[in-house]
């Protein structure tokens, strides 16, 4: 029985993912983006067909197996664009550190000011990191991986919907600065958005995504006692 349910869980997830790729190609929008659409559609199908989360546990284990190798593979864009980082070391690293720390501290301060629970504060502090790393940090600092994943996904969508408009508004026109900001704050989705703007923006965004992951991994455990 669990075997059947596991297969069903995998089939639903894969089916919704395939559907989302078609939808996002036809109607590109943050709401048809594979990550958002697949998550929502899979949850709806499970609720309608009365699949419990415990029935999905094994499928989840199988499907998330490749998250580790996928994270290791993030070294490739870092290596490929290393000269771009070295050529712009000071502005890139300064922007990256300020952006990554700034967004972490703002999120934590606001969440605390609003009286949100500690579980939420801890999970929200790492929402600007690429999802596989955020989930791993969440396990390390005893945050809720699920809540963290949700915050990461929404942050990616916010960056894509708000980012280009906001950067226009505050007069940030250099492709380097735009790509860096999008990659640092909105990880994978921001990087995809930056790549649409220009090749340089996309390249620097993919660097920013990787370096921000390392930076946040180092800072999150240090920040934990103050949350």
């Amino acid at each position: 029985m669990t075997g059947v349910l596991t297969l069903y869980g995998i089939a639903v997830t894969a089916g919704m993912y395939a559907l989302s790729r078609r939808l996002s190609r036809r109607w590109p929008s943050p709401f048809t983006s594979p990550v958002f659409f697949t998550t929502c559609a899979t949850m709806v199908v499970f609720l309608l067909t009365r699949v419990e989360l415990s029935d999905y546990a094994e499928a989840k284990e199988i499907l998330t197996f490749l998250l580790g190798p996928a994270t290791v593979a993030l070294a490739m864009p870092l290596y490929r664009n290393r000269r771009l980082l070295v050529a712009n070391l000071v502005p890139a690293m300064a922007g990256l550190i300020a952006g990554a720390l700034g967004t972490m501290l703002t999120a934590v301060a606001l969440a605390k000011a609003l009286g949100l629970s500690r579980a939420i504060v801890v999970s929200i502090s790492i929402k600007s990191v690429t999802a596989p790393v955020a989930v791993e940090i969440a396990r390390m600092i005893h945050a809720d991986p699920t809540l963290t994943a949700a915050f990461v996904i929404v942050t990616g969508m916010v960056g894509v919907m708000l980012g280009p408009w906001l950067l226009d508004r505050v007069g940030i026109r250099s492709p380097l600065a735009r790509g860096l900001a999008l990659g640092t704050i909105s990880h994978g989705q921001g990087t995809a958005q930056a790549a649409l703007e220009s090749e340089l923006a996309g390249a620097i965004a993919s660097i920013a995504l990787g370096v921000a992951a390392v930076l946040t991994s180092l800072v999150a455990p240090l920040l934990l006692p103050y949350l």
Binding site: G68, I120, F151
Partner: protein, 157 residues
């Protein structure tokens, strides 16, 4: 290629044998090539997996608070920079994994099913925190990078 085989089929008495063999080659070659590609891809992913395991092992042995998969990423970066691992070794698998990254962590986010009530009751506030903190981060990163990059680019021409 095809005309030559056709000519051979016309002239040789064993023409019937030649034609099916040609058909076999035409259909089997792509399949074999596909199987070879798939096997290489699996081997590449296994390599990335092994590096990830190495990262996890080192982190747990050293008792440091650092994610093992990020350690794995740094190991691969070091291997690439020192030339131990050529860039093309993981080219295919890394682009495939990057392209389908959302698929691999969607199952974790699906767990939100049971956390629905917490998230919905606080939804507006959570969204406010996420939007405001993203805006602050975007502006800080963008401003600083642009301000520091500008003098350098003016000197260039």
């Amino acid at each position: 290629m095809t005309p030559g085989i056709e000519g051979a089929a016309l002239t040789t008495p064993a023409g019937i044998a030649v034609v099916p063999r040609n058909d076999f080659r035409a259909t089997a070659a792509p399949v074999l090539l596909g199987a070879k590609r798939a096997a290489l891809l699996v081997a590449e992913v296994a390599g990335l997996w092994a590096i990830n395991e190495a990262g996890q092992f080192i982190v747990s042995r050293l008792h440091v608070h650092f994610p093992g998969n990020v350690a794995g990423m740094l190991i691969l970066l070091a291997l690439l920079c020192t030339g131990v691992v050529p860039e093309r070794l993981f080219e295919r698998s890394s682009s495939l994994l990057a392209r389908h990254l959302p698929f691999f962590f969607v199952p974790i986010a699906v767990g939100l099913m049971t956390l629905g009530s917490t998230v919905v009751s606080k939804g507006i506030w959570l969204l406010l925190v996420l939007v405001a903190s993203a805006a602050v981060g975007l502006c800080l990163a963008g401003w600083l990078a642009q301000a520091l990059a500008r003098p350098a680019s003016k000197e260039q021409p």
